[in-house]
Symmetry: C2
DNA sequence: CTGAAAGCGCTTACAG
DNA sequence: CTGAAAGCGCTTACAG
């Protein structure tokens, strides 16, 4: 216990307790706690002593109930442990902090039901705003919240069936660039190994892949594309299909960091080594032999941009829903230049 | 807007509004909202209609002000984007979710002042408990909070100057094992490249290194140890010192994932290639050539264990402060076996 | 089965 | 400069 403290275990002193001890009114305590003017130095000093002695700490939850705003925002994403999302969340946290907001975080694990429960739980706590990496494909459940004034910005994937701000990477453009890069290396049978097709980013990257192939006049046989879950076994099976048939691919564009990782792990087991471009950068990519060529997104930028847009809305910006698109960047390091 | 909804922008309906519309008392609405018994089906139905029509959603912040517990916990760590901490936070999040709690997250950026501000901000929101990766070396500022009943568990690094639960990796043991491994490969001049010595984990790992060297009867010259900041330039300079003098080290134990990463990046620039064991596993470690030998921690286990301990405290466990130590695991992959 | 009153810990709007 | 009353949106403890 601190010197002079008289706190009792499990009992939090309130402003009322402070007021009693300092022999002043409640409002005077409130003035001192909030640095409002109009308190004589002597009175203020008496209040401050009482605060220290009792170990008083203002209850911000009660305060916010009265004030209306909670100075908190919710961040909802797939998986806190995924490097892509963890860097994204760092971006959101930085902006939240600099705007004086606390951050609720939750993971949906790609489950629409869980996305909805978490988003509504955040809203029930009356967060001022929500940054959402959506898992579901229908966000109308947020309409009452939007109507009530809760700001919502979607990031990485767009809002579905409601009008809301979104911040996305140029997924199709990135896939076009990655594919075009492989085409320029002379590849004609290029494979695309992507995530579940109902995931927006996966569909967009597949679209970019197809566009680039079409632009190069190259056909895409069904056996060149595989969309599905990204657990190790599924990716391994898909890789075997793309590289194992009568006409195996000579190059591969992998649809996200988890897929790229699994493909890299399986590469030694393949009968040959296809050229490889991965969507998303990996931390040791440059240290592999050959270095891993990637289409890099800017996860920190996605998070920062989404959060900045959110706070602009909270500051009163009431324009129509905005859609921000962040560019991707091709980084050749060797694996895609064979 | 949903069919039949009459919500007005920026105005949230309250239980009072629902009660008025359903022509019942406030308490009856409360009963329906909380699935309490003692409401006739007809009355309940009238209330439910009013809830839907108004788009009512209970204000959980107000609820918790009255109930006492907030069903939320705070997680405070160094950096949300660091893979080690992001996996740790996933562990905390999982346990929080399964205990029905929401999670506040904040990053201290290794700044004691920021740690304190964030921890107290969480407490001001009246989180039920706090999981803290501490940055500072004096946590007495939390004494009033502990006294008031807020549960606090320290993770990755211990509490300083207060008694509180902690969940740590066996840092000294892991460093001993990594060093011993290099000794068994025949190395005699082994270097240790660690984080700032005031960081508990860094000091512990250095201690383990020294113990293993002493146990092997090997001297440790000052030029074999470097403790300092982990930005790229500092690590590069330290590496040059350890490998550049008249008696360069033949093997190296690196003190954490950031340091290992920087050393790996600089390795090609060195005149020779020292054997290398890294503290912390890296995602692509097995795919490097040679594979990276590591002393792996269990970050998810640290997070889960800390959160489980926290909720046990919240469930009433009032025993003396507990200190849990999680084992590390040596994973030989090639870089340490030369 | 139903609801009016008091209270959770603050701030707001006023009055002195 | 100071403070009593009302209210934020709920739940608790009672009474009918």
């Amino acid at each position: 216990m601190l010197p002079g403290m008289t706190t009792q275990y499990g009992i939090r002193p309130t402003m009322k307790d402070v007021a009693a001890r300092a022999r002043v009114g409640l409002k005077t305590v409130s003035r001192v706690v909030n640095d409002e003017p109009g308190v004589t130095p002597e009175t203020a000093e008496r209040v401050r002593s009482a605060i220290t002695e009792l170990g008083f700490r203002r209850n911000d939850s009660a305060r916010m109930l009265r004030k209306g705003r909670t100075a908190s925002v919710g961040l909802l994403l797939e998986d806190l442990g995924d490097p892509f999302y963890s860097v994204l969340s760092r971006g959101v946290e930085e902006v939240a902090r600099s705007n004086g907001s606390l951050l609720f975080t939750g993971a949906s694990a790609e489950d629409p039901q869980r996305e909805r429960e978490l988003a509504l739980a955040f809203c029930a706590r009356r967060v001022d705003g929500l940054v959402v990496v959506p898992a579901g494909d229908d966000h109308r459940y947020l309409l009452p919240e939007l109507a009530a004034g809760t700001a919502v910005v979607f990031v990485d994937r767009p809002a579905e069936r409601i009008g809301a701000d979104s911040v996305l990477s140029d997924n199709a453009g990135g896939a076009r660039e990655g594919t075009g890069h492989l085409v320029r290396q002379g590849h004609r049978r290029i494979g695309f190994l992507g995530d579940l097709p109902q995931i927006h980013t996966a569909a967009e990257r597949l679209r970019g892949f197809r566009e680039a192939m079409a632009a190069a006049g190259l056909p895409v046989a069904p056996g060149q594309v595989s969309m599905g879950p990204t657990d190790p076994a599924s990716v391994a099976a898909a890789l075997d299909r793309l590289t194992g048939g009568p006409r195996p691919v000579t190059a591969l564009l992998t649809g996200n960091n988890r897929i790229t990782l699994e493909v890299l792990r399986r590469l030694p087991a393949l009968p040959y080594r296809p050229a490889l471009v991965g969507f998303d950068d990996l931390e040791l990519a440059e240290l592999l032999v050959p270095g891993l060529t990637v289409v890099a997104q800017d996860p920190a930028g996605l998070g920062r941009t989404a959060a900045e847009l959110l706070f602009r809305r909270l500051d009163g910006d009431a324009g129509p829903p905005r859609s921000v698109r962040l560019p991707t960047r091709l980084i050749p390091r060797g694996s895609g230049e064979t």
